[in-house]
Subunit: 425 residues, 2 copies
């Protein structure tokens, strides 16, 4: 199937500075085949999309989330992390049925698409139902069964089974191994995860140094920092996505410089739970890839990556007390191509380039809060929000057009999730 996008102002996210040009884009099935001025209108086209008044850019990449947590939106908000987890979240999670996981995940997927995210990296339990929701909504995703010290066998089996099914060329879903976090996984568990990742030729997704309490716990138990703990267990032999990375020392940075993959920075979750501020500027100066993530709803309360972009910029500028420490274009890179590198998908997604998958979002430009457009990148990062995303294409297929989901029922999923919330909360 051939799709032609015309009249597009394209922010391609290739290169070190912003490049915006008016060109046409020809898409062949899932692949961007041609980007040129005035592509011959006589060639046979199945679908033509007029992108007038639109800015086009690569779909946003959410590098760390827990899709099935949408039910917890605003639930017992404004609590301390351990109080919130132990008294609000864990007791309810135990009661989540597979069908609940499906609908909760489905809502998060739709919310992401509506706010311009085309790829996410998820870890949780009951992931077979989350994979189903991802498939049904058309999203691209990396998914992993979150392994802790208990109920390991089952999760290892499922990871292995799904990796065999999905880790193939052109699959929209990739399976990673997830070791939850240094403080919830003993050395034996972590070694098992590393071996499994090596066996399946895939990467590891885990939390790292999210709170000072966790870091203190590891230090007192193993006499080393959590980054060293993981390094000594050979975690960094395989590609990794390390969520949070707030408590990172200079010696940790020397270790992290050599990893494949990168850090997922979740600024809103880190603020909302008072975890701390990740020194993104320092990590990136040391050549470490940093992507952005929403974390799960509950700690974050929205899946809108535009909010994460803004908050990431604000936090770094006030943390360094230097407004030039991170620029709008840096933030856009983190949300696209750098996020793709964190997930090891930089050859498939993250830019608008010939040969890449057609994951494209259309941002409506003729709005009061985007006027005037002195600086397109600044407008997207600081002034736009998820509701400005007009249309979304994933893998060459239009999933949302003019803010209407195509063949996906928003009302139905809201009804289902409200029912689950009523039952469990």
């Amino acid at each position: 199937m051939k799709t032609l996008i015309t009249n597009a102002y394209i922010l391609d996210m290739v290169g070190d500075t912003a490049n915006i040009e008016k060109k046409d884009i020809l898409i062949n099935d899932d692949i961007i085949e041609k980007i040129e001025k005035d592509i011959d209108k006589n060639i046979e086209i199945d679908e033509k999309i007029n992108a007038k008044n639109m800015l086009i850019m690569p779909g946003l990449i959410n590098t760390h989330t827990h899709l099935a947590m949408s039910i917890f939106r605003g639930y017992k908000a404004d609590k301390k992390l351990m109080d919130w987890l132990e008294n609000a979240i864990f007791p309810v999670e135990d009661k989540l049925k597979p069908e609940d996981i499906y609908w909760n995940s489905y809502l998060s997927c739709l919310e992401m698409i509506k706010s311009g995210t085309t790829t996410c990296n998820d870890m949780y339990f009951g992931m077979n139902k989350t994979v189903e929701a991802i498939n049904d909504t058309g999203l691209r995703a990396v998914v992993a069964w979150c392994i802790k010290d208990d109920s390991i066998k089952d999760k290892v089996e499922q990871t292995r089974e799904y990796a065999k099914r999905y880790n193939k060329k052109n699959s929209k879903i990739k399976i990673y191994v997830s070791a939850d976090a240094p403080h919830t996984c003993n050395p034996k568990t972590i070694k098992l995860c590393v071996d499994l990742a090596k066996e399946l030729n895939t990467g590891i997704h885990m939390h790292l140094a999210e709170t000072i309490e966790e870091e203190t716990k590891i230090k007192s138990k193993y006499k080393k920092r959590s980054t060293e703990y993981l390094n000594d267990l050979n975690v960094f032999d395989v590609p990794v996505v390390l969520a949070h990375g707030i408590y990172i020392s200079d010696t940790d940075i020397e270790i992290l410089k050599r990893i494949k993959g990168g850090i997922s920075h979740n600024p809103i979750s880190n603020c909302k739970l008072s975890s701390g501020i990740c020194d993104v500027v320092k990590l990136r100066k040391n050549g470490i890839n940093v992507g952005l993530g929403t974390d799960g709803i509950g700690s974050t309360t929205t899946m809108d990556m535009f909010e994460e972009m803004k908050t990431a910029a604000y936090l770094q500028k006030v943390n360094t007390m230097e407004p030039t420490s991170i620029l709008a274009y840096d933030i856009l890179k983190m949300a696209t191509i750098e996020g793709a590198k964190v997930l090891g998908l930089e050859n498939e997604i993250g830019t608008i380039e010939v040969g890449k998958k057609a994951d494209i979002i259309f941002i409506k430009n003729d709005k009061l809060h985007l006027c005037p457009d002195n600086d397109v990148c600044a407008n997207i990062v600081y002034s736009a929000n998820g509701a400005d995303v007009d249309s979304v294409m994933i893998n060459g297929k239009m999933i949302m057009q003019n803010r209407k989901m195509i063949n996906l029922d928003e009302k139905q999923v809201m009804k289902q999730v409200k029912k689950i919330a009523k039952k469990l909360l």
Copy 2:
């Protein structure tokens, strides 16, 4: 004229905890006349508004802005404050014509209304054209001519003239005196502003302790902190709105405890310009009113108070490292009734109560990113954005309905502002 709002879930912002009830609201001209369950449908009504699927709350109050700066959106973003001001902003400001001020202000007014703000507090120059734009768009506002050490006479005369015209009962516009900031106003200028405010029986709007550089300058010049400097010049004899208030010591707090009015906290501007983090939690613990403000576009890049609410919450939680330090309802108070107190308008606006002006916003509730609604306040503060505001009533009159501005031309103002930007930038 009688207006009846039915089927409304009302978050009235009265009291210390959230109160949400389904009631009808009867409005007589500009005043809320009755809030009751099932107001008799047989009474004569001119307009009936069905608020099904809507949450109703008081209009948001933006306690510090510079409306005419909309032209600077994203202009030379990511610069240091003095570099940005001196090399990007001041040279262009000198060229702004009255007509430019009108259209720039008009755009900011519409942008505010579209994102749920019904009252703002503005200071700039050429304010006669801003007042015109405010009147034409229907907003409620406090306005002031920003007085620095130069061109004082003209601004004093205009302040006096407009105060006589507008500072009357039931006027939607109130005139304040503005002394720009401690570091741009010498003692003579400040005394003159205090005398003028006393003469006109009004308040003073000024910047205070926005950056450490300003604070250092005052200290070296006057051997005192800027709050002490203002106190010694009797500024606090009159009601004040003090914008920013980042560099405030414990002795400053003792002074500020006694002021009428309060502090305007502008979290996004303070982050974006790397000014620092205002200790809102400490100020409020000491009984000082703290409202929220956007500052002018350029330093902030959007007039959306929902963004300010979120950022304020995130900053306080991560600054105190205590997630319970500020709650969603606290943030909502700051954006409504506490903001009204900062502007001395708490008897007119800030809550939905019988006898108050009908400044009411309608938030559309049936959206993916607001589902489920476990906690309405958390949803508004953390999950909603300006685009969720469906309708806006100011002074009993519908200004926006179903996201359409009533009798206000968005396209025209965007065209004008783009033209001005093209001419000047």
